[in-house]
Symmetry: C2
């Protein structure tokens, strides 16, 4: 249940057995069935979730009920409404499970304790956010600078595992397109070969 978690962390910082024990004591395991909510817009986000298994998404809900996917998260990733988590303001994002999931939750209290008690935790979090930031910047860059086809191909090249496990209309939503448009983009790409 904690394998992916410790493996993932140790790719970036090294943990003693003791560190691991401390960390473990702060985590709350949680299982989530497909389509279940982890967080609903308007609630305060009480945790950061680490994905041991499964796929989730975070998204906003527009005026006409249309969903705009902000992020996918698969094994080894973190997901949360960070702003709500840090400020205790109501969440603007909704998070739910695309597949059955096993999660490890880090509560606000746990997060704060760990930042103080465990320097490697702070370092890990810093590295984690840094790479999330860089990835987000790349995504934004491709949105404002690349034509649709290249954007889609960039996405599939970068996240083949997500493409396989997530329905297309959600990828369209993630890209800010209608499902119809994405379908046409894909057709164009495949017929050209």
């Amino acid at each position: 249940m904690y394998e992916v978690f410790f493996e993932t962390i140790q790719k970036q910082v090294s943990l003693t057995k003791k560190d691991q024990a401390i960390l473990k004591s702060y985590l709350t395991p949680k299982k989530l069935r497909k389509k279940q909510y982890l967080l609903q817009e308007g609630d305060v986000c009480k945790f950061v979730a680490f994905v041991e298994k499964g796929v989730l998404r975070s998204y906003t809900i527009g005026e006409k009920g249309n969903e705009h996917i902000i992020q996918f998260a698969i094994e080894g990733w973190l997901i949360s409404d960070l702003y709500s988590f840090l400020t205790a303001e109501p969440a603007t994002y909704t998070i739910d499970a695309i597949e059955d999931c096993e999660l490890l939750l880090i509560s606000k209290g746990a997060h704060e304790d760990l930042l103080h008690k465990l320097p490697v935790y702070e370092t890990w979090i810093r590295l984690q956010i840094t790479s999330a930031y860089i990835a987000l910047q790349k995504r934004l860059t491709s949105v404002i600078s690349l034509p649709l086809e290249e954007r889609y191909q960039g996405f599939t090249a970068l996240y083949p595992h997500i493409v396989q496990r997530v329905p297309q209309h959600m990828i369209a939503s993630y890209m800010g397109l209608t499902p119809e448009t994405l379908s046409r983009v894909r057709k164009k790409i495949t017929t050209r070969r």
Copy 2:
């Protein structure tokens, strides 16, 4: 020359006199004239720049020479090509001055030393990146979910100081639009009042 820097940091963490002295010893002041480059695409980014005074932008250059602005930075902000800085790969972004600037440069070596020697530095960096990440996520959210007018109004509401100091065609570029389209959006907004 260091006022803005220390003020900005102390909004998030507290610094002893000694901390300040250590920090100061690692910073390299640099002045930049309007239109001068701080970083050119293809070079390795050797530093993170803190803006004491002035305005800069980072951007990519498309195939036809068209610029896509990724970020603006004014007093109190950091700017860099983080990916290049951390990996020593060639930069994909170009950074230049929109106004005459006074900067404080943090070199890679300084950055690494400070992360080890000065826990508050790591904390500050973490908080800094965290808020940059949240801001970027909001920006992306508005790109994929809001109509143009609201996006522009959101931008002006959030960054009135930038709007005043930066030419409109750059704001258009930042929003992923042509200057003509932004001009029309603005007209629509003003004529409606």
